[in-house]
Symmetry: C2
Subunit: 408 residues, 2 copies
C-alpha cells in the first residue's frame, strides 16, 4: 500500500494548500502572522482509502496504516500496536510504553524522520529532555542519519544514557540558546528539525503528528467503536491533535459512528493550552513553575491543541503533581509503572471527570517509569535481615512508595 | 477458550505424571535424587487443540494461547505479541523489551502468578536482581497478592526503583541466606515461589516456562514457518526450554514442518549449561567471574536446558562481555537499545555462527537498556557551546559510546 497523502494544508485556513514537499517545518508561509507561525497538517485522497483498511487487525509497524500516513521512507522498528489494558469500570489504558523506545514518540518520529529522509535531509536535529529525543535518535540511527539532540542539564540520568546509546550527539546548552543553534544546524548543515524551530508558539513538524492518528485507529479497532472520551497528557498538543484527527478520520470514513470527547491534561505548574482555551486565543504563553512532569511542562501552547479541542468538543484541564502522583500510584498498584507525566490523563479523569455514562473511556499512558527524574536515584540499602525481621516486614503489607504518590 | 493442561510431567522421565495441582515447585518427588531436584513441565490434551488456533493473528495477552497454557487465573497486562524486527540478511530480532515490564519475564510471570492464584497462595516470593523480580511484582500487584522480592545490593539503581514501584517488599540479604528465607516464607506464610527453592540445581516453577512457548508461536506465525535457528540469552535455561518446547509443539501439531536449532548463549564468566553439555551431565555448577551480564550469570544450570538442547539439536556456547558489548552496539546502531545480557544471542551468532543457509535466524532480545548497571550512572556535563563548537562536534560523526561497546 502506498501513501494517499496529497498536500500540506494550513491549519488556520484549510483552503490554503501547499505541495507535499518539502516539509514546511517553520509553519505556513501564507497564513502565519508576526505573532504566530501557524502549523500545517497533511491532507489525503480519502475517497481512495481501501475498503478493507480497518477490517484487518492491527500490526506492528506504521506501514499497517500506510494509505493514511505520509510516505514512510525511513525504516521502522515495529512501532505501534500497543495494548489496551483494562483498568475496570470501562476505563482503559492505552499503554504507549510498549513502543520501540518505550514511549508514544516513536509514532511521531517514524513519520517525521521519514519526511527528513524523503526530502534529502543530511541529519536530524531535536530538542528534548526525554522521550522525543530518544525516539528521534533511534529512528535516525536506523535510517543511517546523524542526529543532534539538544537536552537539558536536568534531564534524568537514565534518559541521558538512553539518548547517548543510539550514537546521537548530545548538546547541552542554556535554554535560550537552543533554537538559534537548531536553526543554524538546519540552515547551514542541511539537517531537518523534528522539534519546533519557531519562537512565537509551537509550530512543529507538519508530518510528525500524523503518526499519532494510529493510536486512534488501534483503539477503535480494539473496542469495535469510538470511545466516549479520551484523556491525554498534553505538552505542545501534538499527541492531542493527532489522536483527535485519527478519530475524525474514522468517523468521516464511516468506520465509527461518533468522535470521542478528547480531554487535554496539563500540569498545573504550566497549562498554556488551558489558558488559550480560557481566553479564546489561538495560542498562549504561561509562566512555568516547578513540577516533576518535565515531559509536558511547556510555556507555550500550539495552535494544533485549540483546533483539536474545538473539533472534539473536549477541553483542557490542569492537574497537580499530587494528582498525577496518585494516578501513577493507582496504575502501579494495577501493574503498570509509568512516568509521572504519563499519568496526567488518568489524573484528569479522576480529578475532573466527567465519567461519560455512554461508553468506554481511554487514558493514554505515554511512557515508562524508567523516564522519571526520581528513578534510579534510590538504592538498596545494605540489609542483613533475620527471619523475624522478614516476617515483620511482610506482615505490614507494603504500600506504594511515597515518592510514587507524591510525584517526583 | 479454556486450558487443555492435563498434568505435571517429570522431565527426567515423561512417563511419570502428577496431577496438575498443586504446582510442585520443589521438583518431582518421584524422579529427583539427592544430587538433583528434577523439574517438571505441563502436558496437554494435544488432540483437542482447536484447528484454527494458529490460523488467527497474534494478540496481546497470553489468553490468546489459552488452550496450550495452564489456566490463566491471574489477570494479564497485555503481555506478549512483541514485534519481530528485521536486522538484515534474514536475521530477525524478537524484541521482548516490548512487554508490560519491558522484559520477556512477563510471559513467565503471567503463568506462574496464575498458578499461585489458582492454588490459593497467600503471596508471591521471588529472588531476582532485575527483570524477573519486576515482572513478578507487577503481576502480583495486578492480582492483589503481596510480593516479596529478594534482591542483591548490587542491583542497578533504576531496577531498584522499578521493583519498589509496584509495592513489593524488597529484601536485601546475603546470597546464601536467600533460599532458606524463601523456603520459610513459602512454608510458614503460604506464599508461592516463582524462583527456584532448591539448592542442588535450578528447579524452578513447573508452570512458568510454559509462558515462553508463546514466543515460538508468535515467531512461527509471523515468519509463516519455523526459523532455521534461534539464539537465546541463557541463565537458568527456562527461556531456552520454553521456546524450544513451543517449536516442538508447533511441529507436532503440523503447524510447521521442522524444529529450529536452538542455541543457548551464556556469559563466558559463567557458562554452567555449556559445562553440562561438555561433560554430558544433567546439570553443572561453575565458578562465576565478573561480568556486566548480571541477568544471566548463573553458577548452576537447570536440567531443562539440557533437555531443550538435546531435543533441538542445538548447543550452548559462551560469549565474552566484549562480544556482548559489540552485539549491543550493533543493535543500538539499528535503533534497538537493549540490556547487555539481552545481546548475548546476537553475540553468539556473530561469534560462533553457524549462519544457517536454509532460512531465517531469530535472536531473542530479552530486555531494555534501562536495566543495565551502567545506565543512569552517567550524566550530562554542564556545557555552554558556541556555534563553532556545535559544528565541530557534528562534523566528527559521533560513534556509539565506548561504554556500550565494551559492555558495562
Amino acid at each position: 500500500m502506498t501513501s494517499l497523502a496529497t498536500a500540506q494544508r494550513a491549519l488556520r485556513d484549510p483552503s490554503v494548500r501547499h505541495p507535499l514537499w518539502p516539509p514546511l517545518t517553520a509553519g505556513c508561509p501564507a497564513t502565519s502572522t508576526d505573532a504566530v507561525a501557524y502549523p500545517l497538517d497533511i491532507d489525503y485522497a480519502y475517497d481512495r482509502v481501501p475498503d478493507d483498511l480497518f477490517a484487518r487487525p492491527a500490526a506492528h509497524g506504521l506501514e499497517r496504516w500506510a494509505p493514511l500516513l505520509p510516505p514512510l521512507a525511513a525504516p521502522g522498528l515495529g512501532e505501534g500496536n500497543t495494548p489496551l489494558v483494562p483498568l475496570g469500570e470501562d476505563v482503559w489504558i492505552k499503554d504507549e510504553s510498549r513502543n520501540p523506545t518505550w514511549s508514544h514518540k516513536d509514532r511521531l518520529n517514524r513519520v517525521a524522520v521519514s519526511a527528513a529522509v524523503a526530502s534529502g535531509a543530511r541529519g536530524i536535529v531535536v530538542s528534548s529532555s526525554g522521550n522525543h529525543g530518544a525516539a528521534a535518535a533511534a529512528y535516525a540511527a536506523r535510517a543511517g542519519l546523524p542526529c543532534a539532540v539538544f537536552t537539558s542539564a536536568s534531564a534524568p540520568p537514565a534518559v541521558a544514557s538512553h539518548l547517548r546509546a543510539y550514537g546521537a550527539t548530545v548538546l547541552t546548552v542554556p535554554g535560550p540558546a537552543v533554537r538559534p543553534l537548531m536553526r543554524r544546524i538546519v540552515d547551514e548543515l542541511g539537517y531537518q528539525s523534528v522539534s519546533s524551530v519557531t519562537d512565537s508558539a509551537h509550530t512543529g513538524h507538519p508530518f510528525g503528528p500524523e503518526g499519532y492518528k494510529t493510536i486512534a485507529y488501534e483503539i477503535a479497532l480494539e473496542l469495535g467503536r469510538a470511545p466516549a472520551a479520551v484523556h491525554l497528557p498534553t505538552g505542545y498538543g501534538e499527541l492531542l491533535f493527532g489522536v483527535t484527527k485519527g478519530f475524525q478520520e474514522l468517523a468521516r470514513l464511516g468506520v465509527t459512528g461518533s468522535v470521542p470527547r478528547v480531554y487535554a491534561a496539563e500540569p498545573a505548574a504550566a497549562g498554556a493550552l488551558t489558558e488559550a482555551m480560557r481566553t479564546g486565543a489561538d495560542t498562549a504563553r504561561v509562566p512555568v513553575g516547578p513540577t516533576a512532569a518535565y515531559a509536558i511542562d511547556c510555556e507555550i501552547s500550539g495552535y494544533r491543541g485549540v483546533v483539536a479541542l474545538r473539533a472534539s468538543g473536549g477541553t483542557a484541564r490542569t492537574v497537580t503533581d499530587a494528582q498525577m502522583g496518585a494516578a501513577r500510584a493507582e496504575l502501579a498498584a494495577r501493574g503498570l509503572w509509568c512516568e509521572i507525566s504519563s499519568a496526567a490523563g488518568l489524573a484528569s479523569l479522576r480529578a475532573h471527570g466527567p465519567r461519560e455514562p455512554e461508553g468506554p473511556v481511554v487514558c493514554v499512558v505515554t511512557s515508562s517509569g524508567y523516564k522519571d527524574t526520581a528513578t534510579a536515584r534510590e538504592s538498596h540499602g545494605p540489609m542483613d535481615l533475620e527471619w523475624a525481621e522478614v516476617k515483620a516486614l511482610l506482615a505490614r503489607r507494603p504500600t506504594i512508595p511515597d515518592s510514587l504518590v507524591e510525584g517526583s
